[in-house]
Symmetry: C2
Subunit: 169 residues, 2 copies
Amino acid sequence: MDAMEAILTRRSIRKFAEGKLPPETVDRLLSAGMAAPSARNAQPWQFVVIDDRPMLIEIAARFPNAEAARYASLGILVCGDLALELSKGYWVIDCAAACQNMLLAAHAMSLGGLWTGVYPRDFRVEGMRELLGIPEHVIPHSLLLFGPPAELPTEVRRFHRDRIHWNRW
Amino acid sequence: MDAMEAILTRRSIRKFAEGKLPPETVDRLLSAGMAAPSARNAQPWQFVVIDDRPMLIEIAARFPNAEAARYASLGILVCGDLALELSKGYWVIDCAAACQNMLLAAHAMSLGGLWTGVYPRDFRVEGMRELLGIPEHVIPHSLLLFGPPAELPTEVRRFHRDRIHWNRW
């Protein structure tokens, strides 16, 4: 898929069909994430890949905003590793760039993807930490869900010229 | 350019050749930014497009991490608008997704792009606010620089299997 087309046509997918993702697909998603830019190129991320169905169901039960995990083929919890960070505080932005790369890669491979928020909600951060055994210096950032799409969202146009300012506010 | 290729081959460009960007190119960059996902689809972003050379030089002089602005064709200051936010605190992540979309779109159009950090450094946030007249409820997030590339970075491979954990940490 063309890059610009992928960017403009990607939508959140909340309904997934059944199906395991082959290991090459998972590697491509993770490669896309790790190709993101980061402050001083620190690449301060860690990824917990979740394909265990009982664990995905447990996540869906505990976190209402990640209810779609129940049917997703795969979850990837993107985390910021404070021990790897070089510019304090930028891990939040770096991990978000990695997330967006993975969602675009999924869409380009005709997979559905959903970004579910974790950080900065304490109950989600600490809940994920406890559930998945994440150490203290690593902060759960976002849970991405992937799978074959079972819905076809309509196209949207989000371009709003009133959000653009020239040379000054 | 293929989406996966764009994701995997994008690199930061710090040296720009001369050249104005046509309005359609600027619109395509901004369209890519506004196509990003955001928490509860709030799209809590604002964009200050800077193509005034004296202003770009002033930015380069004030912010050492944005020194490349001196020669860039264009800067886009991505800002979070707290008046538009629906999920408190997620604007930081939403704006980062918009930034990554724009950098990928630039690369797909054979333009160079550089992500220079603003938020969460107070002196950069308040310096940009003062320089560009940004109101209190809008927070400067990142300054992206674009222009024809005057350097050809080598390919890198950032895939690290030791950052991947399966089902638990």
